[in-house]
Symmetry: C2
Subunit: 593 residues, 2 copies
């Protein structure tokens, strides 16, 4: 069976040494009660839950075929119900939520690390509370006080859960063309009718009620994305006293059969004049939904990190135990029939790709988490503005780059197992299947790249990117000159700066230039970001002599020498004309080649 | 349901225009009876079989859970038996085999294209005849005349089938440590005892008998890979008159539950003093097995090509049909609610990655096929020597590079589908799962890279690589200067030449240097090889004005500008010190990070 041990020591290093979390917390009134001892105690609890409760359920739920559907009812895999109860009772659902509504008010830079452990050990399970937390966040930002009072406390106790209902059969990326209708009733409620697909946790048996957040259009709404409203559509209507009332006229028509995350119920939901309640104002639903969506997007990056850490731990253990071949520099274990495969440079290359990805992704998640904490807790308006810009710029990196690199890392870890990596019992192939969705859902990684290059860069003429690069340059200046990561990061700053200018120039004359180079740009910025994280890690480690820290400097150098050079290729590919692609007529693609 | 139409026009272009196949065939006595009309007729027949018979069985076999095992008996998925019968009766098993034993004597440069269609439509099915053909090839090269007479004709009619039994629980890459024993009997036969795992087609219901080719060690054999012998171990012993005799004391203990290729039975085989017959001489078994192994390795490349073509066709069709968003240069289909997603550069980028991979891989497969045909059919000893060197050099590229690029291409095609790519019914996620094994089996791609950099390059001091680069340079000189692929390929020649010299120098002082950079080197040589193929394609297209040919020049330019720049990154990564990786102590990898 697969193993997992939460990387608590590295988490402490990242929070304490790299991001000086305690100083940061002590500097904010709302966070001053949190210290590293509290943080580590929380992480240790989650380490136990992830290892002892949900890890084994991950394999068993996949083996039994995942969530089951019958006559509108979804049964979650064996053990999920008890685990969810335990999770809810532990207060984990509201870990980062407002204390006013029953949450624990913990900072994001801490909750991302707790989340990493659940993503690592059971991504299907994670998707149930995840949607609750996201729905809670959207409601907290946009719902009325009465709505918050009615829904939030029950969501954080786990008695109820949440969903986000966006996609329809014909409308995924392009929400402007959704068809779900909302007709206003005299009592102020709405009748919601339509079909939503790919609804994660859309129906299940873990909670008494499910609070669906549904995008729909009123009859007189403007066309396109400016005419979308957001509605609360509970599975069971809620009486004034908070008890459950009648069943709403909506339900699951089926669940999808998927490549992975089989334990997560992905539902087709049919709304048949179901009673819904407007959140915020008509036609302003997309903004509210994007609070939730942006939260989910950072979560997808953590899904990538979790999978990469899980796969790495198992591959490293396998490589240590597996005896095969001999070292080229002479037999290392003469008493054994063969040396461990760790004597082979190529095996180390695959493992170090994973290890470097884990450590950079974790630092990046905490970095973005800290920026989010600034936006939420800081009283310094300028700092909040700056952090908001940074979060906006880096959300597509967190979602797309962290999941793209995670897939590569997980594929490398699977390869370390040779043929055994392809066999179900080792759990590596499931990890690949479960992870793959992270690149697709909540806006495909291609769409994230469009967001980065368009809304987040071209629209502000590169100002956000320029500020980010300035921050990196200023930080890196504090590093020892002897560290390879210093020159490498400064060089990456210059490369990304220059290619950003190139893109801004090219985009002026050719409105479809950016689309074709967006993914290369996202990877270029992602590589720079990971280089920045290794610079931060190196600064925290450079003065310390213990092997734990010195090995971090070696890993940073490995990244600079063996991973970062990919930047050059992305730059060259952006510089090559992308007009070429658009020259080909549409029928070229399906014509007999 | 997924679609597939064999790319017959491109296959004709590759054979006829690029490789001038008819001239080549007419110049060889044994092939002079084959012309393009015959070749195209064969490919058209296979196009029908692949589309009409086995395509639908691919999805259904996966849905029903693949091959089933019960009490030592393997039942193949519904429809496989009838399809295999039809395949055998069509003479497809022996398409490239010697006419003396019932084969059709067709050249490899043609059979690779027929194989592509089966790999594209049903890789699980393909694995049954594949092992028969490989076993036939090993026997034809190393078995006695009596053995050939006894086994080959029945293999090519499909009455019997074949396997290769190498791997044991503790021994995969390192065959020198296998434990299966062969004890000589007085009658000259051997008693074979041991356990083999991961045996593709090791047990099934498609043929009356299964001829296992088994590696084992005699009691007094030298240690390591110099003491391995090869044995024929039939499932049913064969009487003198060719009829089936008693059941041999061997059989399947279980089958593996895998990520994909579920229709293919991957067996644990237990040999309990089973009767075996030596092939060739004792202790020389590995050479015979490698005839088969090298054949399978080229086949894995074709598996990659087939999957990439299949995924591309489905993605291109989906992109054409899927309406979502609007073109940045203005609405393209005002009569529709949205434009087709082909208006987005990023969608074209993903599709063109697939298309470029398909066309370069296909040309490369035919190129290697032609070299194999020269080794088999040419009477010019120097040409045979040269072709043998070329095949040896390029087999790891065919196996590993074509499958690595295929996985990327298939992942891109899956991504074109958005969320639908993750749902089973579209067949894209199965394509990813089925393809993934091609990078792992028959020697992992990491092991292929070791073969390329070690045995095929360092061992001959780069002579084979130098000859290959000379051939490329001479060919490319004939291209129009206006074609971007010309300068790009010449530049790639210089880059690969220089990095090969660098590797030869570095390897002298550091015996484990090569291992850590091998995969980067394989990808560098792979990129050069694909560039060479696009140079060949461009030369055949440059004088022709029809869109079919002009579009090939655009695709070649796309490759030069958008794919080939990856070469720079691999070169930089090779140049970076790999000693760094080896500095870390073994326990670093499993220590708490």
């Amino acid at each position: 069976m697969p193993i997992y041990n939460a990387p608590l020591k590295d988490m402490d290093f990242i929070l304490n040494d790299v991001f000086k979390a305690e100083d940061f917390w002590q500097g904010n009134d709302d966070l001053a009660h949190i210290d590293m001892a509290t943080a580590n105690a929380i992480l240790e609890e989650m380490a136990k839950f992830s290892k002892n409760v949900i890890l084994d359920l991950n394999r068993s739920s996949d083996e039994e075929g995942g969530a089951q559907f019958s006559n509108g009812v979804v049964t979650t895999p064996k053990g999920f119900k008890e685990a969810f109860k335990q999770y809810a009772e532990g207060g984990w659902i509201g870990l980062g939520a407002e204390e006013e509504w029953g949450g624990q008010g913990m900072p994001k830079m801490l909750t991302v690390l707790a989340d990493e452990m659940i993503w690592a050990t059971n991504p299907s399970f994670m998707l149930y509370p995840l949607l609750s937390v996201g729905a809670g966040m959207a409601l907290n930002n946009y719902a009325s006080q009465e709505q918050k009072q009615a829904y939030l406390p029950k969501i954080y106790t786990g008695e109820w859960s949440g969903t986000m209902c966006l996609t329809e059969p014909h409308a995924g990326t392009d929400l402007g063309i959704i068809k779900t209708k909302a007709e206003r009733n005299e009592d102020g409620s709405y009748d919601i009718s339509g079909t939503k697909i790919f609804i994660t946790s859309g129906e299940h048996d873990l909670s008494e009620n499910i609070i669906h957040l549904v995008l729909a259009k009123t009859p007189d709404a403007p066309a396109g994305s400016r005419g979308i409203s957001l509605f609360i559509v509970p599975k069971f209507l809620v009486n004034e006293d908070g008890s459950l009332g009648e069943r709403n006229t909506m339900g699951a028509g089926s669940i999808e059969h998927k490549m992975g995350i089989k334990g997560s119920a992905t539902c087709v939901l049919n709304f048949d004049a179901a009673k819904g309640f407007l959140v915020g104002k008509e036609n302003e639903g997309l903004a509210a939904m994007f609070v939730m969506m942006n939260y989910e997007r950072l979560s997808m990056g953590i899904q990538g990190l979790g999978a990469s850490e899980f796969a790495y731990q198992n591959a490293a253990q396998y490589a240590t135990d597996r005896l095969q071949g001999r070292s080229a520099t002479g037999v290392k274990s003469p008493e054994k029939p063969a040396d461990s495969i760790l004597v082979h440079g190529d095996v180390r290359r695959m493992l170090l790709n994973g290890r470097a990805n884990n450590e950079a992704s974790r630092a990046f998640a905490v970095y973005v988490g800290q920026q989010l904490d600034i936006t939420k807790f800081s009283s310094d308006a300028e700092a909040v503005k700056k952090a908001n810009d940074r979060v906006a710029l880096l959300t597509p990196i967190a979602k797309a780059y962290l999941t793209d690199t995670a897939l590569n890392a997980v594929l490398d870890s699977q390869m370390v197992f040779g043929g055994h990596g392809y066999i179900r019992e080792w759990g590596m192939e499931q990890c690949v299947r479960d992870l793959r969705i992270s690149q697709i859902y909540e806006g495909t990684n291609g769409v994230q790249a469009q967001d980065l290059i368009g809304r987040k860069t071209i629209r502000n003429n590169g100002a956000n990117m320029a500020e980010y690069i300035t921050e990196i340059r200023e930080f890196v200046a504090t590093l020892d000159d002897s560290l390879a990561i210093k020159a490498a990061t400064l060089n990456a700053c210059s490369e990304v700066e220059a290619i950003t200018q190139f893109i801004l120039q090219q985009a002026k004359g050719a409105p479809d230039f950016a689309n074709g180079v967006a993914v290369d740009y996202l990877h270029a910025v992602g590589l720079l970001s990971f280089s920045y994280m290794f610079a931060k890690i190196s600064q925290a480690a450079q003065a310390k002599t213990e092997a734990f820290y010195q090995n971090k400097l070696i890993l940073a150098q490995y990244f600079a020498e063996k991973v970062l050079p990919g930047l050059t290729a992305h730059i060259a590919q952006i510089k090559a004309s992308s007009n070429l692609m658009m020259q080909l007529p549409e029928d070229y693609f399906t014509a007999q080649s």
